[in-house]
Structure formats: C-alpha cells, structure tokens
C-alpha cells in the first residue's frame, strides 16, 4: 500500500491536469483521477510492462476522461441550464479582486484573462483534437507516446495536432485579435 501511495503522489497532479483539461471541471476531473487509480489498483497484475507504466496510467486517464466528456455532453443536452456545467473560470479558486494599482496584480489579472481565452479555445475543440493538444502541448508527451495512449497512428497524431493548433490559433485571433 505504501508503494501504491507513492505512485499516487507521483502521478496525481499530472493526471488531474489531463483530466481537468479534458473535462473542464474540477470535480469531474478529481473523480476521473480517483477512478483511474482504483482501476490501476484492480488491474495492476494485468500490466504486462509492454509500455511504460506512466503511459498505461495516462491511457486510462484519457479513456475515463473521454467517457466523462460524453456524459457531460449528454447532461448538457438535456438541461436548459445544466447543474453540471463545467466551470469556465479559473477553476473556482479565483475570487474577484478589487481593482488595484499594484502592477503585479494587474499583470496577474491580464495573464489570467489570456489564459482563460486560450482555455476557452482548447475547450471548444472536439474531444479528439483536444486530447492531442492536452497530451502534447500541455503534458509534453511525444508523438509516439500519444499514438500509443490513444491507439491512433503517428500520422493521425500529427495531422490532428496540426489541425487542433490551427483551430486554437484562429480562435485566439477572434478572441484577442491576434494569433
């Protein structure tokens, strides 16, 4: 159990980031991470070592995130105002600060706003394009690792990533006026 705890400690942040970037919701992302670790615990004996352990781990996270996205989409379709709407602000931790003359505060606010716009553009991607952007540009996996995790060809990784980045670029142009 101690060994497992060390695995949790080592990977939970990265997994949470993936799940959060995919689902757009803190709570759903936390749930995905919990489910992932439970799945790992149950199936650890089935891990044959054909891939890196982390690749296996993140594959599970991606799969569960995908399932979660579909769930959320279905819920949103049914509800005029979904009780499960992902939070599109800064993960609920940001509280409105009074306008300040402090340049560092201003800078933080501006950075935050820019981040929000980028985040919006990523969230606007279809999930198969969002996946590759999250895994490559946010999490830093190689094309080959992404190909293994998502079980798609390298060429598909390349083309999806390119299209995804073009979409984000165009989206940012509309939102902030430049690419």
């Amino acid at each position: 159990m101690e060994a497992f705890e060390s695995i949790v400690r080592k990977y939970q942040k990265e997994m949470f980031n993936i799940a959060y970037r995919m689902t757009g919701d803190d709570n759903e992302a936390a749930e995905v991470v919990q489910d992932t670790f439970l799945s790992v615990y149950r199936n650890i004996k089935g891990f044959k070592g054909r891939s890196k352990f982390s690749t296996w781990l993140f594959t599970i996270v991606m799969n569960l995130s995908r399932n979660k996205i579909k769930q959320l989409q279905r819920r949103r379709q049914r509800e005029h105002c979904s009780i499960d709407d992902p939070v599109e602000t800064d993960r609920g931790q940001f509280t409105a600060e009074p306008v300040s003359d402090n340049p560092s505060v201003q800078e933080r606010l501006e950075q935050h706003e820019r981040d929000q716009k980028i985040w919006e553009c990523i969230r606007a991607l279809e999930h198969e394009f969002r996946e590759v952007v999250v895994l490559r540009d946010i999490q830093g996996f190689s094309y080959e690792e992404i190909s293994n995790m998502l079980n798609i060809a390298l060429g598909t990784v390349r083309s999806r990533l390119h299209r995804a980045r073009l979409s984000v670029k165009e989206c940012l142009k509309k939102l902030i006026g430049d690419g």
Binding site: E5, Q34, L38, Y41, R74, R75, I122, I138, R158, V168
Partner: protein, 364 residues
Amino acid sequence: MDSMECNDIKDKLSAHIDRELSREEKARVDEHLKHCPRCRSMHEELKQTVTRIKDLEEAEPPAWLEHKIMAKVRAEAEQKKGFLQSLLYPLHVKVPLQAAATVALCIVAFLLFKKIEPEMKHPALAPETSDVLNDKGDEKPADSASEQYAVPRSSEPGRAATADKPTVPKAIPDTELLMNKAKTGAPMSEMSEKAPPSLYGYAKKRDRYDAPGIKITLFYVEDQAEMKQQDDSSLHEIAPGVMFKSESERVVTPKATFTGILRPQLMRTLDGTGYVYSVMIRIDDSEYYLADRVHEEVRNELREELDSFLETLHEWTHILSDEEVNTLRQERMLTIGVKEPRQILRRFHSEDVTITVIWNEEWN
C-alpha cells in the same frame, strides 16, 4: 512559390515545431521557409500558439484528492480480504446491517411476493411467458413491442454457458404472479408457478391501485451449491448464479456472496394497467453496496445508461412532473407517486442496464 508545395509544407509545420520530422523532411521544410514568407509567417504564428498553450498555468488538484484516493484503494483492499476470508467459512448469507446505503438494482419488471392473498384472476394474455426464454433457457433479446421482460445475465463470459439452466423459483403457493399487459389496456394475465424464472408479474391485492411493491435484491453467487444449502425461503434462483431475495421492508445486500458483474438490461415498455413504480438506482461512493467492486465497475456504464434513460424520460414528462424529472436527474433515484388513476409500469432498455420504473408509496 508553388501553392501545392506550400500546402504540403504547411501540413508539416506543427511536426517541424515539435522536432518530429525526419531529417529529410526537416531539411525540406527549412529550405522552403527560407523562401516563403507566408509559410514562415504561419510557422511563427503556430509557434506562438504552442507557446501560449504551454504557458497555461498548471492546475492544482484538490488537497483532499490523495487522501480520498487512498481511502478508496484501502477500502477495496479490505473488501477483497474480507471476501476471501468469507469463502473459508461455511457459507451463510451475510447480511449487512447498515441498509441505509444499499442499492437495489431494479432489473425484473415484476415483484414476487412471498405471502400474498389470492388475487383476482384475469384471463391469460399474450405474450406467452415461454417467449421470453429461448429453448436453451437463455434470455431472448427484449422486444418492446411484445412487452417482454428479461433477467440480467452475468457479464462474466462463460458463466451462462457453464452454469445450470435457470430453474423455476421455489414455489410460493400463495403467490399468484400476474403479468402486466402493455397499453392495450387488456386485463392482467395470470402466470403459473411454472413460468420461466425470467418472467415475473407483479401481484395485486384486492385493490389494484393499492398493491405494495417489494424491494428486490439481486446478487450473483459464485458457489451456487452452497447457496442452495441455505434454508432461506426468501432466496430464489432466477437465472444461473443469480439469486433473488425479496424483502417487504428493506433491501439486504449480502456482500459476501457477490462475485461478478451483474449487467441488467435496460428495458422499456408500457403497462396499460397503470402501475408506476419507483426507479431505485442510487449512485454514490458508499462502500456498502452489494458488491462495491461491481458497483464501481458498472457505475460508469450505469451512469451512461441512466443518462440515456433520462433522455427517454423526457418523452414521458407528460407523466412525470418537472420536479420529479429534476429529482431523478440530480439524485439518480426517484419514487414516483401516483398521479393519475392510470398507473404505468415502464422499463427502459439498453445494452447494459435495465431500469424498471415502478411505484410503491411505501418506499418513500
């Protein structure tokens, strides 16, 4: 510049930024970029976009996340240990006393009463109960037009093939099982005690609108021989390895006996006699469940299917109130009270989940 070459180069720009091109490809792109301002500009824009994405602030997981993960994993470990230990003892049904957090999977459309007063008899109606099972005793695919009901099958491959054929439940002499007929409004049909175990009707009392429902528990038993030794008349085998226990007051979940994944079928039908029963599926993190492992493993599927069920439910809002639909969405369970003299039984079907809409005001 040749635009076809530009198009070809543009497709490679992302991979060029990521240094994922072969040496030859990289050289070709580099050469092209030297002479093509448009592609160079696009390359630069893409680089900026990638940099912006990379600079996104990393998300911090909640402080409680690690603790919660380990709590769940430890609980899982304890449960496995407990189950293994229980197999070493003479088998007895271990009934968890904390019934508050148990879940009942509503699978079969009809309720089985242990002791019941004689019911009014009705002319027999199609569909024939034998239609539900094929010759091998395996469940036929649900056919909403024929209003058939099916029991869940174990999802474990091979189990159905190797296990015994479903047996008729132990006779309950005082019980008359009556089958609902769908919206034709035809009167109830009567089922004999020899009806296939996969098909049940619900029993009526004198007043058809007053019949109480029975909570049912379904659980899968690995060691069926041992289960049969139990002298528990409330237990019935309704499908290979699938035991059914009826309780008039509370649901019991013998965790120790549950070993596999039960995948009920989500089925839909209309019952013209008009009983509406409550949907009893609760999804939360409680560890008390029939088999937490099963619960966890099917939870995602159940959630997806429940979402489908809720979509279907939209069509039925003329029967359910908005408040009831919202309650069902939020809490994943709903006891539907009688709104009209016409009470409707519904089952919602998909590949993996059966939800039976049933009514029993005693369950509120």
